[in-house]
Symmetry: D2
Subunit: 432 residues, 4 copies
C-alpha cells in the first residue's frame, strides 16, 4: 500500500516535471532533481557519460542547443549540485541500492523526456486548470514520462524505507530520449544492465483503461529512425537546367520507392517518410533535400529487411541524379518478447492489488515502438528475465496530443505493483 | 551627353537604393523617394492603387508583413510626404510629362525591387568597400534594379530640363515586384500603357559586356510561377497508417510527373519544382505539402501548354491520395517579340554614342523571363511599338549572386541612349 | 475404408484429368466426364447456367476461345452426351443425392481447373515417366485440382453405395475456375449453397506433409484481381511529342503509387502489379497500357481498403495524363473463418483414421487466396457451418511449378475422411 | 532530262520493290536485284561484309530470322547469282564507277529498307488499286525507300550512259536498315566514304510539296535507340513477396525518371520510352522487364547528355531494386550540318530544273533523325563536303502511315537533279 504522504509526493513530483518538460538529451533540470532525491535516499549514483556511451547516442542535439538549454535549466529550478553531471546532455542516471544480502540484481527503467508539442490552454485541460501546464512553448509531457519519473522516485522512496525487507541489488535506471527511440542503446552499450537478473520497464496508458494492467506487452515493433540527405548542385532553372544535379527529384523518387518497399510475409512492416524539405528557390534547380524516415517491423529481422531496402533505394536514387547522400541513424528499437516467468510475477502482483480491476498476462497489440527493448534483449541474452508492463489510466486525449492527460491515481497503483514485484523477486530468489 | 552633376547624382541615387533594398510590393521607401523627386521635377504623378489593379498583384506579401515593413521604411529614410500612397504595398508610380505639343505617347519602364539574398561582406566586394552594402540581412539589390531606378530618375531629370525640345507625352513607369514576374500585370490591368505608342524597357548586364548594347532582346521565355499546396490528413505512422491521407506522397508523385511533362516540338520549355516542404514529424503520416513551381515556354502558348499539364498532374496526384490542393498563380511573364522599327531607333542611338563600342540589333539568347512583356504585349496589341534593350556592364559576379555588382559607368551610358531615343521618337513623329 | 477397386479408380480418374488439363471456364471435357459418372451413380444433376450466374463469372475467356476449346474437347474424349450443357464455358455441376430422410443438407466442393504452365518432361517427373503427362503445351494440372475432381467422384461413389446409411441431402459441387479466384462467386450467386447446412471445401498439399491434416485452414487472404488498361493518344515522339497522351507514363506512375499503398494496422495486405504491357513502337508516344493487378488483405475489409486505393490511384494517374482507363474485376476471394464446430468433426475423422499421422484443428498460416470462401461466407451468413481443410501430401515440387506432383495415396486418405465426415454429420443431426 | 524509257523503268523498279518490302538487314531480294543491275551497267561492286562492319550493325535480326527470310527471298524473285553476298543479312552495296580521269570522288547514298507496317487495302490506296501493294503481312514501304532505291538505279543508268562526260570516281551507296538508324554506322566503319570528296544523301517527301526542293535539310536530331532490360527474381506475390526482386518496379521508376531528364539550354531534346513489357503473371513478383527507349538532341553533344542521364537512371533503378540490367544500343544518328558550298550546287540544279517550282537552300525544321549523318560527319571530318536534300512529293498520307504513297513524278525530278549535281561537281573540279 502506498501511504498518503508518498501519494501526495507522487503528484507533486509529476506536476513539477510536467511544468518543466525537457526533450531528449536535454533532461538537465529533471535529472538534477532526480539525482538529488535519489542521493538523499541513500542510493549510489552513476551519472552522465558513466552510464551512457556517447557514440551510441542517436539524434542528440548539437552543443549550442545543449548549452542554451543548460542556461534555461539553471534559471528554472535545476539543482545546481548535480547539473555538472548532465551539462553536456548525457542525462542518464543509474541509482543502485545494494542490500548487501545475497540475491538477484533487479532493474527498473523510467524514461524522463518530453515532446515538441504545444500544450493546450483550453480551460477544460486539467493541467491548465490546475496551474501546472507546460511553461514552455512547443514543449510538453504528452506521453506520460513525467508520471514515469515520478513513479521511479516513489519506488526509490519505498525501497529506501524498506531496505531491510529486500535482498540482492536494486537498480533504478532513469533514461533520457526514449522519444525517437534514441537513448536506451547508449545506456546498454555502457553496460548498465550487464549484471541484471530481472528487468522491468513500464508505461502508463497506451490504450489500457484505468485499473487495468498488462503484465507483458509484446506488440512493440522494431524500428529504425533515419535522417537522409541528398546533396546535388544548384543551377538556374531557366538558363542552365542541364547543369543542375537535382536533389529534390532524387528525394521524391526515393520517397515513392521507399513507400513501395514490399510487404513481408513473416510479419507486419511500416515505412514512413515523415518530412521532406528541399530546395532554395523557385527558379533554382534544388541542390539539397532532407528527409525524416522511419521503418518498423514485427521482428528486428523484418525491420532490418525494410531498412536494407531503404539503403538500396537511397543509393539508387542518388545514382540516378548523380548526387551525394548520407543516411544517419538517429533512433532504433528492437522487437520485444517478454519473459513469461517474470510477466507472471507482475500479473500476480496486479491481481493481488485492491486497486486493480483486471490484469492480462500478455498482449500483442501493436503499440508503436520502444527502446526499452534494447535493455530487454541484453538482459535476456545474458540469461536474465525481462518484461514490459502497462498500467492503464484514463486518458483525456491520446498520447502525443496537445490535450493528453492521465488520471493521477495511476501513479500510486503503478508504484504499488512495481514495489510488490521487487518484494516478490527477492522472495522468489531467497526461497530457491 | 550626360552632364557631370547628373552623373554624380545617378551614382548617389543608386548607392542609396542599394543600401536600402526592398523586395516586391514592399518598395515603400524607394517609391516615396522616387515620387518626391519626380514631383519636384514637375511630373504629374499617379500612384498606388491608381496604377495597380489589386486583384492582379501576384505573390503579394500579407498585411502584417507590409505593415512591419512600412514601419521600417519610416525609420529608414522614407519620404513621409509620399508613404501614404504606398503604405498598403501598392508601390507603383506612373509619372507623366505632357509637353502639350502634338506627338506620341512614349513610355519607359523601370523596376525597383530587390532580392532575398544576403549581400557579401567580403573586402573585395565594392559596395562593402565603399560603404554602401545592404543595411539589411538577406535583402540585396543583386540584379541591378537599383541602377534601373536611378537611370529612371536621371531620365526624368533630362526630360524636365529639356521639355521644350520634346513633344507628345512621356510616361515614366516605376514598377514593383519584377522579381518573380509579379508586378507588371497589375499595372497593365490598371491601363497605364493603354494610351502608349512607344514602350521601352531595359536592363543592365545579363551577359552583355561593358560598352555593348542589345537593342531588342527577344530571348525571354514566357513563364508561370505557381505555389502549390496539398492538404491531407495526419495519423500515426505506426499505429494507424491507413487512416492518413498522405500529402507528401501526393507532392512527390506530382513532382516527378511534372518533371516528366513532354517536350514541345514548337519551342523550348522549362519546368522546375524549386522547393518542396512537407510533413510535421517522422512518425506522422504527412498531411501538408507546399511546392514552389515555375514553368517556361518559348512562346506564351507553349508555356500555357506546360502550365495546363501541371494543373492536370496536380489534380491527378490529389485524386490518387484523396487529398485537397490549391494552385496559386504568384507570377507570370509573356514571351517577347520586340518591334523591329523601334529597336532600330535604339540601335541607332547606341551606334551614335561615343561611349558604346558595339550595338546588336537583336538577340534571341534565352535569358530567363521578364514581366515587362505584359506591357509590350499590350502596347503592340493596341498598334504601338515596344522593345526591350540591354545595356552591357562589367559584372563582379552573376545576377542573383551575393557578390553581384555593376560598373557604375553604365548608368550614364544607358541614360544617354534612353534620352536620345526620346528625342528621336519625337522627331520621327514630328517629321511624319 | 476405401476399398481397393475405388482406390484404383481414384488414380485412374486423376491421371486421365491430368493428361487433359483444362483451364478456367473451359473444363468442358472434364465436366462432361464428371457429369456422366455422377449421372450413372444416380445423382440429380444441375449444370451450366443453372448453377452459374453469367454476370458473376470473372475473367471468362471470350466466345472464340471457348468454341475452339469445345472442338478440342470433342476430339479428345469429352462425353458427347453432356458437352451441350457446358459448350458456352459454364462448366459448373451440382450433383444432389436426396436420401429422402430427414437430415441436414451437406455440401462438398471440388475444383476442376488447370493452369497455363508447361509440364516438365524431365525423366524424373512421375507423370512423364508413367505416361500421363499433359498432352497440351502450356497447360498443366500443377495445383492438384485433378486430384480434387477425382476425390469428388470417389465421394460420389461411396455415397451412392451407402445411401441407406445417410440422411438429409448431399450436394457435390464441381466448380470451374478456382485459379484466379474467378468461378465460385457465380455459383454462389446462382444460389447453389443457399440451402446448405454444412459446407466443406478441401485442398491437397499446400505445405502440409503426407499423412497430416489441417481441419480448418483460416490463413486465406481476401483478394481482388483486376485488369487495368489505360488508353491515350499516339503521336510521333520526335515530331509531335506534345500531341501524345502517354498511357505508359500513366501506367508507370500508377504502378509505383499502387505499390506505395499504405500498410494497414489491422492486418496484412498485399499488392502486386504482376504484368505491364504498353506501347507500339520506340518512336511513338505510347497510347495503350495494360496491367494485371492483384490485392490481398487479412480480412475482406482490409482487402477492400487496398482495392479502393487502387481505384483512386488509377483514376488519378489517368487524370494526370489525360487518358482514359478501365478497371475490370477478373477475380475475387474472401477471407476465411472456418466454423470451429464443423472443423472439430473433420479433426475427429482425421484423428480416427489409421492412415493419418497427425491432425491439427486450426492453422492461420497465410497460404494465398481461395474463392471457396464465397461459399463459406454465404453458408455462414445463413446460419450454417463451413470449414476448409487440407490433406497433406508429398509434393515433388511446389504448387504452380512445372514439376508439381502429389503422392497418390493422398487420394484415398482424403476420401476416407470426407466420407467419414458425411456419416458423422448425419449422426450428429439424427442424434439431436 | 530523264528520257522516257528510264522514267518508265523508275516506276517499274519502284513498284517491284514496293511489292516485296524487306526490313532492315533483310534486304536480300532487293540487294540481289540492285546488284545485278549495277553489275550489268558496268559498276565495280563491293558487297556484304566488305562494306559493312559486323560489330557496328545495330539491332540486326538473329540468324534464324535471317535464314527464314533468305528462303522467302529465293522463292520471291531474288537474283540467285547475288544472294550469296547478302545471305547473312549484310545487305549493303557500294557500286563504283571510275572514269579514270582526274576528278573528285562523289558519293550518293540510297536506303533500301521497309517498315513493319501493314499496308492498306483500301480501294482508294493507289498501290492497291494498281496492283502493286505489299505482298507481305505487316511489311510495307511506307517511307519511300522503294523510291530511293529506284532513283539510285536510275542514277546508275544515267552515269553509265554518260560516262564520258564525267570525271573522277562516282560511288553509289545502297544502305540497309536506315529505319531505326541502324545501318549507316557499319558502312562508315567499313570505310566506304573514307575517300569521298562530295557526299549527297536525299529523301522524298518529309513535308516538302511536289515540285519543291530543300538543298540542305539540317533539322535532323541526333538520336540513340536503346533496348533496356531488367532481370530480377520471381516469387509468389501472396506467399513470399519479400523474396522477389521486382524488375517491373525498377522499369516503372526508370521510365518516370528518364522522362524527367532535364531540358538542355543549348537546344531541343527528346526522350521516349516507347514500349514496356514486364512480368509473367498476376500473382508473381515480376522478374523481367524490357523497354524500348530513344533519345534525341539538337546536336550530337546534347543527345549524348540525354543518353548519359538514361544510363545513370537505369543504373540507379537497378540498384534500388537489386536487379541486373543491360542497355543495348540498337540505333544511332548524328546531328547534321550540311556543307553550304555543296548545298548551293544542289540548289542551283533545282533552280535550273523545269520541273521544279521552288528550291530552298536550307531548312532547319525538325524532321526526326537520319543515320546518313554518320556518312556526312565522316566526309566532313576528312575535309569533304556533304549535304542532305529533300525532293518534295504529294503524299497520300504521312510517312509511316498505312496509306502512305508518293507521286511517282518525283522519281524523275529527283533523278534529274542528282545527275545534274554529278555533272556540275565534275565541272567545278575540272575548272579549278
Amino acid at each position: 500500500m502506498v501511504h498518503h504522504d508518498l501519494s501526495e509526493k507522487l503528484i507533486k513530483w509529476r506536476r513539477d516535471f510536467h511544468q518543466y518538460p525537457e526533450t531528449g538529451f536535454l533532461e538537465i533540470r529533471t535529472a538534477s532533481i532526480v539525482a538529488s532525491i535519489l542521493d538523499q535516499l541513500g542510493f549510489e549514483l552513476e551519472m552522465g557519460k558513466d552510464v551512457m556511451s556517447p557514440e551510441h547516442c542517436m539524434g542528440k542535439p548539437n552543443d549550442m542547443v545543449t548549452r542554451q538549454h543548460l542556461e534555461w535549466a539553471l534559471e528554472n529550478g535545476a539543482n545546481k549540485d548535480y547539473t555538472a553531471y548532465f551539462s553536456e546532455g548525457y542525462t542518464g542516471i543509474v541509482a543502485t541500492l545494494d542490500t548487501n544480502k545475497n540475491g538477484p540484481t533487479i532493474a527498473y527503467r523510467f524514461d524522463m523526456d518530453a515532446l515538441d508539442i504545444h500544450e493546450s490552454d483550453s480551460t477544460d485541460h486539467f493541467p491548465f486548470k490546475e496551474g501546472f501546464r507546460s511553461t514552455l512553448e512547443n514543449k510538453m509531457h504528452a506521453c506520460g514520462h513525467d508520471a514515469h519519473t515520478s513513479i521511479g522516485l516513489g519506488l526509490a522512496s519505498l525501497i529506501a524505507e524498506n531496505k531491510d525487507n529486500l535482498c540482492g541489488k536494486i537498480k533504478l535506471i532513469f533514461q533520457p530520449a526514449e522519444e525517437g527511440t534514441r537513448g536506451a542503446k547508449s545506456m546498454v552499450e555502457a553496460n548498465v544492465v550487464s549484471d541484471v537478473d530481472y528487468f522491468i520497464a513500464s508505461h502508463v496508458g497506451i490504450g489500457v483503461s484505468q485499473g487495468h494492467v498488462v503484465a507483458a506487452n509484446n506488440g512493440y515493433l522494431a524500428t529504425s529512425k533515419m535522417d537522409i540527405s541528398f546533396k546535388g548542385f544548384a543551377s538556374h532553372a531557366g538558363g542552365d537546367p542541364e547543369k543542375g544535379k537535382n536533389a529534390l527529384l532524387a528525394a521524391a523518387t526515393a520517397t515513392l520507392n521507399m513507400s513501395a518497399i514490399s510487404r513481408h510475409s513473416q510479419g507486419s512492416t511500416r515505412i514512413n517518410i515523415g518530412e521532406l524539405h528541399a530546395g532554395r528557390g523557385r527558379n533554382i534547380i534544388p541542390d539539397n533535400a532532407a528527409l525524416k524516415v522511419e521503418t518498423r517491423g514485427a521482428t528486428s529481422e523484418i525491420n532490418d529487411y525494410v531498412k536494407k531496402q531503404v539503403e538500396s533505394i537511397v543509393d539508387g536514387a542518388a545514382t540516378m541524379y548523380n548526387v551525394d547522400y548520407t543516411i544517419d541513424l538517429v533512433g532504433e528499437g528492437k522487437s520485444c518478447t517478454s519473459s513469461r516467468e517474470l510477466a507472471s510475477i507482475i500479473h500476480e502482483c496486479a491481481q493481488d492489488s485492491d486497486a486493480i480491476i483486471n490484469s492480462v498476462l500478455e498482449s500483442n497489440e501493436s503499440t508503436g515502438s520502444e527502446d526499452a527493448t534494447f535493455f530487454m534483449e541484453k538482459v535476456q541474452k545474458n540469461g536474465g528475465l525481462a518484461t514490459y508492463c502497462i498500467f492503464g489510466t484514463d486518458l483525456a486525449a491520446g498520447h502525443h496530443n496537445e490535450q493528453f492527460d492521465i488520471n493521477e491515481e495511476t501513479l500510486s497503483q503503478a508504484l504499488e505493483i512495481l514495489y510488490d514485484s521487487c518484494i516478490r523477486l527477492c522472495n522468489v530468489n531467497t526461497s530457491k
